[in-house]
Amino acid sequence: MASSETTQPLIGTFYRYHFVGNGAQFRVYAVHSVSDKPTGRVIKVPLDFNETKYVITPPLSRIAQYDTAEEFNTLADARAREVMQFKHTLPRLLEGVYGRDTRFMADLGHLKMLQAPIPTQAIPGAYFLPLFYTQDQVTTIGGYLEHFRFAEKTLTNEVTAKDIAIIEKLIRKIIDLHYAIWEYGFFEFVFKPENMGIYQNRNDIDIIWMDLAEHITDKEQAEKILLEKRWHHPIMPQKIDYIYLPTILQEHYIKACDEAFTLTEFRKRWRRKCALLEAKHRRKLHAQALLMRDERKIVANWIAQQNLHNTIYQGLKPEQIDSMNIPQSDLVLLYNDRRSILTAQQSDILEPVERNLAMTSEQKVAYEQLLFKHIT
């Protein structure tokens, strides 16, 4: 995620919005009060097609195979559409029993949604109906890891025992977060550490699933992806769509992930929580049926039992709708703000330097060969 501190905040009716950064899905703004005090929440503003294309173009141009600019343009259009589609899966994370599960909602940084019609400039009377989200404000992994760039194990003043303990805890928490979301039937399929965000409380840390769009719910597909070991990508300097992990952490990170992300561990956890929730609701319906005498009610209860595997995952409660009362005019302002994304800068300045150092010329050639093999 890129970020900029230079952009002036947007001044809304009740709030000020400080641009924090953007990915390929959303622009993120920290929500501050009128007196510019952080509220502890961010608002995620969906990128439109042109913005998405703008963001995905640089990395795509480095890995895609194409002969003409027109060909590349077609590829970029297709990729932008694909990326935009991921956003449509987000509301299901808040529906039904998911939205009522305190632990799961905490893992998602208390994600809430809001929606407002945004008038279009192009067609009079027409409007977009984008979904905005608010979430707890956290530190990005990129920013957090900056401290460990170029650190050497031998120089004890650079990385202290306390730092190592915290890093071990961080890696463990990343793994545990993946485990937790597997239990709810979701699979973060890119294994990007930067999709997680960090709460820092004095000596302790906690993490949330910050960028939630890259997930699937299909078990078979998840198992195939698991075998690809995508958690190795953050140590491949050529994988420019992943944050490059500080060298000092790599060995430990990979070892821990290799041990944790196995088919056995996955199968042990996949939809475990869902199964428990379904069983609990089914028991409740069954108990109700035992007390029923009215045949029509018994039939209705029977049908409810058969629909349970769908119905408990449906429906939004008021708690999932954002309650900050962000006015519609502010949402229009945020949606139409195009300054930030164009001026965005890297917050973790050392990351590209460390990545470039790691990417020797031999590796570059080897990677290109591998890529070529994969594409053909």
Binding site: P124, G125, A126, E295, R296, I298, V299, N301, I303
Partner: protein, 259 residues
Amino acid sequence: MQNGRVLKIPLTEAETFQIAKERRNIIHGTEEQVASLEVRVQTFMNSKARMPAMINHGFDDPQPFLRLLGDPKLVAVDNILPEDTPEKRWGAARFVYSQEKVEVIRGLLHYLKDQPSISAIERRKFKRLVEDYITQMYSLWEYGYADYIFKLGDMGIREDGSLVCIDLGEFTSDRQFVERALVEKWWLDNVNPLKNDFPKMHSSLEPEYVALLESALTPKALNEHWRKKHQCSACIPEADTITAFITTKVMEIDYIDRL
């Protein structure tokens, strides 16, 4: 929605086109396709366009009738649907309504279909469901309306066991037309493997379903129930004449789904 209701937003013409493409529109009992996609899409749009008139029909006491339909309420569209554009067009089907949120029978049919066998208890419950479905059809007829598609999976059920017709785009007030649907037994689509948009029941339940509907959904039964409770100030003799004229015209234009 959070108030125990659902909001139904009509598909645009382009979306309807996508759905229609996936369905087989065939003459009942044959495999013969009956209409072009464009004509079928227009028929779908017209069916939707008839819904507000049914919901707002001027019954002296509309509540018992509306309860059969899940208490639908029209919602002002100004803040929901944008103006029609070439890409997004609702045309005459430009309205939104809310309805009670109920359990849908489609899920039960899927479950039963997947079972290796059906227990005696489940068989009894299913029989009760079909009997209630027949009663529901009779109740609708008493108000002068009929579901002519007979898609069992599109029925809903409340916690108290009362049934709800959730798909309001498949109704007619044209008695002649309903009679034809009964004579031709269009309700057999629920067990017709060629009709892939109808959720199917377990094959062992089909004979009982067919037997029950065979004896209940007849022109004679229609005659006994038709408009028995239709008390309204809207259907004055002049209006009947106009309605008959309009019905004839609509039948000429909008005939495809009726084949």
